[in-house]
Symmetry: C2
Subunit: 265 residues, 2 copies
C-alpha cells in the first residue's frame, strides 16, 4: 500500500506457533507469518496490504505478543470487528489478539521501546513429546546460580556486536538490555530478556552461551570479554529456535487500551 493510497492503518497484536512457519519475514514460495497475514488481509480488504512486524522472528520461533501494522486503501469495518474478521480467516496456528487504529506513520519496529522474549528449557533426563515444540530439552546438569551470574553481566547499555549472526549487518549494535533473568518453574527454566531492541539471533546466541556457562564449559567472564572485543568466536553456539517466544512489545503509549486486548497463555 503506497502512502498515497493509504486511508486507514491498524496495529494488531498477534500470537503464532512458529513450528510450521519459515519465520516472520516474507520469502518467495515459503509459508511465513508476514506472507500469511498479507494474503489474508488482501482477501478481506480486496486490496494489497503490506504488513510490518515489530520482531522478525526466525523459523520455529513462537510469539504470544508480536505487534504488526498494515495500511489499507478502504476497508469499511468498525475497529472492534477486525479481530473476529481476521481470526475467522486465518489458519489455526496464528491468531489476532487485539486490534487498534493507528496513525499512518506508525511503525511497529522503529516505534517499539521495549521487547520481551522468553526462552524455555525442559530439564528432565528424558525428552517430553508434549513439550517438544515449545521448549529446548536439556537433560544435563546446569548450574543455575552460575547462569544467573552471567546474565547479570549482560544487563545495561552495551555494544552487542559479538552477539549477532552475520546475516544482517546493522549500523550500530548498541542496545540496552533492561532485564536478563532466570526463573525456575518445576522442570522448566525460563530465561527472560527485555531490551530496547535485539540484533539478528541475539537471544539465541546469548542462550547458547549461557548453556555453555551453566554446564561449566565457559566461564561467566566470557560475557565481558565478548562485549569488549566484539568477538563472536568467544561465545557459545546459537541455541535452537523452538524454545524462544516473543512475549510482548511495548510502545510509548499503550496501543490496545480499551480495545479488549486478549492474552494467549
Amino acid at each position: 500500500m503506497s502512502a498515497a493510497g493509504c486511508k486507514r492503518c491498524f496495529a494488531l497484536k498477534v500470537a503464532y506457533d512458529g513450528t510450521h512457519f519459515h519465520g516472520f519475514q516474507k520469502q518467495p514460495g515459503l509459508r511465513t507469518v508476514q506472507g500469511v497475514l498479507e494474503a489474508c488481509l488482501a482477501s478481506l480488504t480486496r486490496g494489497a496490504c503490506s504488513v510490518q512486524g515489530a520482531g522478525r522472528t526466525d523459523a520455529g520461533v513462537h510469539a504470544k505478543g508480536q505487534v504488526v501494522s498494515f495500511c489499507c486503501g478502504d476497508w469499511p469495518i468498525p475497529v472492534d470487528r477486525v479481530v473476529p474478521a481476521l481470526n475467522g480467516a486465518l489458519p489455526e496456528d496464528i491468531a489476532v489478539l487485539a486490534a487498534a487504529e493507528v496513525p499512518p506513520g506508525f511503525h511497529p519496529r522503529y516505534d517499539a521501546v521495549r521487547k520481551v522474549y522468553r526462552y524455555t528449557i525442559f530439564r528432565r533426563a528424558v525428552r517430553c513429546p508434549l513439550a517438544r515444540l515449545y521448549a529446548l530439552h536439556f537433560p544435563g546438569p546446569l548450574d543455575v546460580a552460575r547462569l544467573a551470574e552471567a546474565m547479570d553481566l549482560l544487563v545495561g547499555k552495551h555494544d552487542f556486536r559479538a552477539f549477532q549472526n552475520t546475516g544482517r549487518p546493522v549500523e550500530s549494535a548498541v542496545r540496552t538490555l533492561f532485564t536478563c533473568r532466570v526463573q525456575e518453574d518445576g522442570d522448566f527454566l525460563h530465561l527472560w530478556f527485555a531490551a530496547d531492541g535485539f540484533l539478528y539471533q541475539m537471544v539465541r546466541i546469548i542462550v547458547g552461551t549461557l548453556l555453555e556457562i551453566g554446564r561449566g564449559r565457559l566461564a561467566p567472564a566470557v560475557i565481558g570479554e565478548a562485549l569488549k572485543s566484539g568477538e563472536r568466536r568467544l561465545l557459545g553456539p546459537t541455541a535452537p529456535p523452538h524454545g524462544l517466544c516473543l512475549e510482548e512489545v511495548h510502545y510509548r503509549q499503550e496501543l490496545f487500551t480499551g480495545s479488549g486486548e486478549e492474552r494467549c497463555l
Copy 2:
C-alpha cells in the same frame, strides 16, 4: 510373540503427542502408537513383538502415563538400558519414561486398577495457537459450579452404558468412577477423571455433556436420568479428542519403583 517363544516381558511407561497418530490401536496403513512401538521393538530386538496398551486412546488423544507391555524371544539388554535404547529409535512425538521387567502373564489393561484422564479447556474469548493442540477452546460462558454439581453425580459404581459410543460393545458397562472433579487454573479448566476402567469414548461423552450442562443447555439431572435409563440420546455430543490426556495408570503393585521413572510435564 507366542507364549512359547516368550523369554522376557517388559512394561513401559510411555508419553506421546496424539496429534499425528491415528490413535493407539494398530490399523493397516495408518500411523498408530502401537504400530510405531512394534516396528521400533522389532528392529531393536530383531524379532516380532506384540505390544498391548492400558488405554486404547483415540486419534488426537495424548498420553503422559500410558502403560504398555511386550514380550520378546531374546533381547540381551539390561533393563536400565531399555529406556535410552527405545528413545534413541522412536520418533520425536513419543518417548519412553520408564521400563520394568514383568511376568509373562502381565496385561497392562486387565491388570490396571485405576486410570486417570484429564480433559483441558481453554476459556479465553480468542483462540490461542500455542494451546490449540492440547486444549479445547471454549470461548462461551461456563457455570463451573453447575459443572461440578453434575460431576458429583457421576462418582461411584454405575452402569455407564449411556456413556459409550456404539463402536465397541462390552459385556458389562459397570464401572467405578473414583474421582470426577474440576480444577480452575487461570484461563484453563482441567476436568479430572479416575476410574477402574473407561468405556469407548466415555470421557469425551462425559465432557461433551458437562459442557452442555455448564452452558445451561442441559440440566445436571440428565446425568442421573442417563445412568438409570442407559439412553445415549439424553447426553451431549462427544467432545473433541485433543483436550484429552491419559495421565496415569495404576496397578496393585508399583510397576516402575526403583527404575528411575520419569515424568513428562
